[in-house]
Symmetry: C2
Subunit: 287 residues, 2 copies
């Protein structure tokens, strides 16, 4: 059996009791380590589980999945995913490959907390969210704005948008590569501030009134952890906020917001005066 | 401290290791028992936790929350919620009341799996979902169709819609009430078949082409449990399917679907011929 086990959002103790039992008994244990990170490292997980954990990078999962699936029709293999196995990243293709293997490999998924629902900690109702989008690191010459079209659809309906931000782990160093060597860049995690700044940048390019400087948003960091942090404000304000260690996410709030949602996020406002002014001018009764 | 602890979707062992530690040490433990149910009962939970669990019905949480919050500025109180504390039902108002209490009561949320993300087990990408809606039990004279407007917005964008179905627990018996007595009806859980039938009924009334007999949908039952069941088909087909014990949910699929999503749900088709015919006629390339 191939078990896809969600680890939840914060640390090693967010795994379910059932998931931990499977990890302790499985023949092999892999940790998917390219789409999200826990706030603890591999060594801590190994110490906690009392066994070896094999890091599965993108290449291993997407190209060499035979290695992970080997014998999984006969023995139990645990594949650990930070958050929920089917959420921010879908491991659907991986499960399809297991199903289509010869012999077919039975799979079982243990869901867990995901940022897609953990974002409820902001007090924003999950019923009022539209599509989720991803934000990649812009470069000098590459500032993709396809996310903007989806955000625009949500904004048009007055809905909130969860923006998941980019992380880069195990990115090859291009200079080294040119000299035929493999060296990896240190991991990079996008911050709420960078995300807000990039949204403003796209708005300035596209100009369709989707996510300008004074659009209200909520930034979150380390959801589910003890030092979880929430900050609300205009994108311009959030572009200046330091929210500390990863992982971060951002919600662009929609106009179809209840007063209770407003009350909840107002407590986290960077500046309550700006918040109230923008709220009264652009949001209240505008759904 | 007031801890809101998600229990996950299936049974007592879906709580996180961290959550279980808090439950074992807390001064009092409440179980929110009116918006969702685990597949185990209170007695099993008590045996597993080794302690008393107090059932918190809607009235207690919404009107008598002082009892739950009593002394929670000094002692630890655990409030257990099936699924995730902030997902299908938002306990936002409850947290606001704790915050505004005199003295204010610190709160901490332990997220867990929710049907909002557990629905990823269908292979449908959570990035392609629009707003989530709720379906209530229709009666002879009350068939609210406000959900239809939201589904229509999603359909217009080619997005999937998760439809959460009604459950009725601790509903007073009206005849007994008329005679001044309090007696409760047995709990009722809406099935995928009832939900599909009601959607067809609304479509026949409204006629805006949102969820007719041949719209494709996916029904799920007991997500995350060992006997989890997934069935795909037209609403007409799903209206005839028996998916067994609760809890059920349904997804109306959108036209902006990848081929991989199609492949994944096709394996669960009630009837692959119908599925392929409807897919080719109404969905493929229609986004």
């Amino acid at each position: 059996m191939l078990y896809l086990i969600g680890l939840g959002l914060a640390d090693h103790r967010d795994i379910s009791v059932k998931g931990l039992e499977i990890v302790k008994k499985a023949e092999r244990v892999y940790l998917e380590a390219y789409t999200a990170v826990l706030l603890v490292d591999k060594e801590q997980l190994e110490a906690y589980y009392g066994r070896e954990v094999i890091i599965a990078d993108r290449e291993m999962v997407e190209s060499s999945s035979d290695e992970i699936l080997a014998d999984a029709d006969k023995v139990d293999v645990a594949f650990l995913v930070v958050g929920d196995p089917f959420s921010a990243t879908t491991h659907t293709d991986f499960v399809l490959r297991a199903r289509q293997n010869d012999p077919p490999i039975p799979t079982r998924v243990l869901p867990n907390a995901s940022i897609l629902t953990g974002i409820g900690c902001t007090g924003l109702s999950l019923y009022n969210f539209g599509q989720t989008v991803s934000m990649v690191f812009f470069t000098e010459n590459w500032k993709p704005s396809s996310y903007y079209d989806r955000v625009k659809e949500n904004v048009g309906l007055g809905l909130h948008t969860l923006v998941l931000v980019d992380i880069k782990v195990k990115e090859p160093n291009l200079e080294a590569m040119a000299r035929g060597r493999i060296r990896y860049e240190p991991p990079r995690y996008m911050t709420v501030a960078q995300c807000a700044a990039q949204m403003i940048e796209t708005e300035e390019e596209r100009g369709e009134g989707v996510c300008g400087r004074e659009a209200l948003a909520v930034g979150v960091a380390r959801v589910g952890a003890e030092d979880q942090l929430i900050r609300a404000g205009t994108l311009e304000e959030l572009a200046e906020v330091d929210m500390g260690k990863p992982l971060h996410s951002l919600v662009l709030v929609g106009k179809r917001m209840h007063e209770m949602e407003r009350d909840f996020i107002r407590d986290f406002a960077v500046n309550k005066e700006t918040f109230d002014r923008v709220w009264a001018r652009d949001y209240e009764g505008k759904a």
